[in-house]
């Protein structure tokens, strides 16, 4: 076997352009993905060069301030996973199995939160239910007691709304993949509708449900934007890591909490990728027929409709409140219309928006090309080391943003590579955090492409760069542009990792939004929220135009 490996190496050495790109990719992955992670691990257990795992000892001896955020995080994540999967399932069942009206509208509502930043939900929740919240004030006036949303209830509420769309997308795919004939035969054999649902539909959807639970669990564990706004006196791991590093300058504590956070997130990721992916009961029978609309009783249909409508209504209200809040003089106290906050935001905050757009655009341009190149290398058949690159490039899927962020601080604050305070470090954080998604999309795109096309290009004498630029890129352009639009949206709305590396020179609008919330300037925060949402919408509209008006017109039809 080693002789064959040697031959593969010899082949790569003779293929100079591919060798170059493999080395560049490896250098990027090692320097900007692996190195920061190693620094986190190192700082967690070493102090001044000695092995001092003091916070781990405290963790295992049950010290409250180390162990409490851990259990808080797990509690929130477990509850959010259950609620968002439940709601996601209700939406998915309603849109795939019943003929309720306004399906497309509900589908839209259930997918919008995916591209909008999660903390918009927290901002809306505070505007409604915070200390000066509209509903809070109403309760105070009519019922005479004061209550607010801060803490566990706020986290559950906002994260559920932020993350149920992921569960919805998974379960929608799973439910429409279950052949309706299975359910119909159960009904034909005399099973009741409820029994059919419990004994046929639900078991078949189990792997999908488990996948949705794991994904939303991970999202909640990693979430930073919502807890920093709404956690109140209920500290979770991500926010405690942030405070340990930026508030207490306690690097070993921050690193230790980061390692503790890594354990459940990596575990959930591994379970999802290597265990669940093999346990699928999806019956492949082509597209679901119209008879997928299993005969649901009118009672069930209209109760599903009411639940789905209620949640959609709340989501719309949440977004509306943010927009409303941005035009309100002093939220909760003086509710008159004003453009003052916009004027303020545009005088003070324009540069944050410009920085965000600029850095996100640069990162997206690099990330799109880099991601597709990694995908190309990973799917190349005759290439040694593709398995390693595949593994390395997927690591940051499993690593929470806040851990990437502190890794970058540890790694690039001191020589040999000093990047603190530069635009470069923000771009690199965006890249290391968001490229894995482009790679995954790119691999899917390339697997659609007939491998002979790539082989023909090489056979005719084209090296890596020409094959990539003249054949691979043009043929995958529409899908790549879509992937890049989502990467751009993800960068613009990004907070957890970049909050650690912003500087006076380079600041981001998401970080500025949190700062505004922190000083109680909720209306200004709302303005920033609206600007972020508009940027995201702009990117997606632009993507649509580029794909349909330019790319699809230019390429030949009917491949």
């Amino acid at each position: 076997m080693w002789q064959y490996r040697l031959r593969e190496v010899k082949h790569l050495l003779h293929n100079r352009s591919l060798l170059l790109i493999v080395l560049v990719i490896l250098a990027f992955l090692v320097l900007f993905v692996i190195f920061p992670l190693i620094k986190v691990l190192q700082n967690g257990v070493f102090y001044n060069g000695k092995f001092v795992p003091q916070y781990f000892l405290q963790f295992f001896s049950g010290q409250r301030y180390v162990i409490r955020p851990f259990f808080n995080s797990l509690l929130v994540a477990a509850l959010v996973a259950v609620t968002s999967t439940l709601i996601g399932f209700i939406f998915a069942y309603a849109t795939t199995r019943t003929d309720i009206p306004c399906k497309r509208f509900f589908r839209l509502i259930a997918t919008v939160p995916i591209v909008s930043p999660p903390f918009i939900m927290a901002l809306a929740a505070i505007l409604l239910l915070g200390r000066q919240g509209m509903v809070t004030a109403f309760i105070q006036r009519t019922l005479g007691f004061s209550w607010n949303i801060y803490g566990l209830p706020g986290l559950i509420l906002t994260e559920t709304f932020a993350f149920f769309p992921m569960a919805f997308l998974i379960l929608e795919g799973v439910l429409s993949g279950i052949a309706p004939s299975l359910e119909e035969s159960a009904l034909d054999m005399g099973a009741s509708k409820l029994r059919t649902f419990l004994r046929v539909t639900l078991p078949l959807a189990t792997p999908g449900i488990a996948g949705a639970l794991l994904l939303t669990l991970t999202r909640s564990l990693e979430d930073f934007g919502d807890p920093i706004i709404i956690q109140g006196r209920f500290p979770v791991l991500t926010t405690q890591i942030y405070l340990a590093i930026t508030g207490m300058y306690n690097i070993p504590l921050g690193a230790t909490l980061a390692i503790i956070l890594l354990v459940p997130t990596v575990l959930a990721f591994v379970l999802q990728r290597y265990w669940l992916s093999r346990k699928s009961y999806i019956t492949v029978t082509g597209k679901p027929s119209s008879s997928a609309l299993v005969r649901v009783s009118p009672w069930a249909k209209w109760s599903l409709f009411s639940v789905v409508s209620l949640f959609s209504f709340v989501i719309i209200v949440f977004y509306a409140v943010v927009i409303l809040g941005s035009f309100t003089k002093l939220w909760g106290i003086d509710n008159t219309f004003t453009l003052e906050h916009y004027r303020y935001a545009f005088t003070v905050g324009t540069r944050y928006l410009v920085d965000s757009l600029e850095l996100a655009a640069i990162a997206t341009a690099i990330g799109g090309v880099l991601g597709l190149m990694i995908a190309y290398v990973v799917t190349s058949k005759r290439l040694i080391g593709r398995g390693l690159i595949d593994f390395l490039s997927m690591i940051n899927f499993a690593v929470p943003g806040i851990v990437i962020g502190i890794g970058y601080i540890f790694a690039f604050n001191t020589p040999p590579i000093v990047l603190t305070g530069t635009a470069m470090i923000i771009i690199l954080v965006f890249l290391s955090q968001r490229t894995p998604a482009v790679v995954r999309d790119g691999v899917a795109m390339l697997q659609q492409l007939d491998p002979v096309i790539d082989e023909a290009a090489a056979d005719l004498g084209a090296g890596f760069f020409r094959t990539f630029g003249r054949v691979i890129l043009p043929l995958t352009a529409p899908a790549l542009v879509a992937g890049m639009a989502y990467m751009f949206a993800a960068c613009i709305t990004s907070i957890s990792a970049v909050i650690m590396v912003v500087s006076a020179h380079w600041y981001l609008i998401t970080v500025q939004l949190l700062a505004a919330v922190d000083i109680g300037a909720l209306s200004v925060a709302a303005v920033y929220g609206v600007l972020i949402l508009m940027s995201v919408m702009g990117a997606i509209i632009l993507m649509d135009v580029v794909i349909s008006r330019i790319l699809l017109r230019r390429t030949y039809h009917g491949r």
């Binding site: 003779h14 082989e455 056979d459 004498g461 030949y556």
Partner: protein, 360 residues
């Protein structure tokens, strides 16, 4: 631009999930300048894998490939002077026909004027003049096949590789196109390797046919040799149709042998190298090398017709011979010779010249 291609002990083992498959096993082959050699065999015999190793699309597990005395085993496809016509063509769907054919020349940084001239020249050679602005998707299968051929020809490779290039065409077009390919290959004198599972295709266009099975090269030779003197039972059976009869060599001289078939029928036939008196052998008898005589008393032995098919130009019979053996026989022009119904007793005469012996 033609060149000599040599494969030495070329081996490819595919391994995955604890399983190892030997796709090509110690293949040795020498293709001289300007020749067209066909790799012929059933699917899974390793012929396409061999071709892909020559083109650099597959890395050999062992062995070497050399082109014009230079080892090319470790070169990537883009650095080999080979060009492939792929089974599914692999045309670039986002480029016009002109751009497809020009691709290899642009890679080689030829001047614009030269590219234009050579592309148009090659398109006219394959009969596609006037279609250069079309998209590959707007061409018929036969036209796409010719674009693929033009795209490979235009870069003037030292070796042309054909990977079942006609398998996606209908039967009539296949015959036309293979003749076209052979004509161009001869006139340009390009060393070529041609992979196919269709023996008629292989026999009609090749200088040499290399028959493969289970990753092993079974025999290589000109079409006539392969058919008349198959090296083993597989080749005899795979190329054309063959009857196998047990026989003993009972005597012989330098260039003739005396064999005894079942029923003590003795035949005096031309000698086959490698066998000698006293050997137990298998006699290969082609269906068209047997006469069926209406009079059962005539010929070498008596037989009974157990199946009879009439196809117009041919009558095909299955005859049962004494000693539980059966042979298939083809009779040309049954109008003249008469069609014999099942159950008829007939005489059988073997054509001595055409009997070939295999070691048991």
């Amino acid at each position: 631009m033609a060149a000599e291609l040599i494969l030495r002990d070329l081996t490819k083992v595919f391994s995955g999930k604890g399983e190892q498959v030997v796709a090509v096993d110690k293949m040795n082959l020498q293709v001289s300048e300007g020749q067209l050699v066909t790799l012929l065999g059933p699917s899974g015999c390793g012929k396409t894998t061999t071709l892909r190793m020559i083109g650099g699309l597959e890395i050999p597990t062992q062995g070497e490939i050399s082109l014009d005395q230079k080892t090319i085993t470790y070169l990537p496809p883009q650095r080999r002077d080979t060009a492939t016509v792929f089974q599914s063509y692999g045309l670039f769907p986002h480029m016009s026909i002109f751009e497809n054919v020009a691709f290899g020349l642009k890679v080689r940084r030829r001047p614009r004027k030269e590219i234009r001239e050579r592309v148009l020249e090659t398109l006219s050679l394959v009969g596609l003049t006037g279609l250069e602005k079309r998209s590959p998707n707007h061409l018929s299968g036969g036209q796409q096949q010719r674009v693929a051929l033009a795209r490979a020809l235009v870069i003037e490779p030292k070796v042309l590789l054909f990977d079942e290039p006609l398998s996606n065409l209908d039967a009539k077009l296949r015959v036309e196109t293979r003749e076209h390919i052979r004509r161009i290959q001869r006139s340009l004198h390009i060393t070529s390797i041609y992979v196919t599972h269709d023996q008629a295709e292989a026999m009609s266009i090749s200088d040499q046919v290399a028959v493969m099975n289970g990753g092993l090269l079974q025999q290589i030779g000109p079409p006539y040799e392969i058919y008349a003197h198959p090296a083993n039972r597989f080749v005899a059976d795979f190329i054309g149709r063959a009857n196998f009869l047990k026989a003993d060599i009972v005597g012989g001289s330098r260039d003739r042998l005396e064999i005894r078939l079942i029923g003590n029928v003795e035949l005096n036939i031309p000698a086959t190298p490698g066998v000698s008196p006293g050997d137990r052998v298998v006699a290969v008898v082609r269906p068209e090398a047997v006469d069926v005589l209406p009079n059962a008393e005539e010929g070498d032995m008596t037989a009974t017709v157990i199946l009879a098919h009439y196809t117009g130009s041919l009558a095909t019979y299955k005859l049962s011979l004494p000693g539980d053996e059966a042979i298939e026989v083809e009779v040309m022009n049954p109008q003249e010779k008469g069609f014999l119904p099942e159950g008829t007793a007939v005489g059988v005469r073997f054509h001595r010249q055409s009997v070939h012996l295999l070691r048991e």
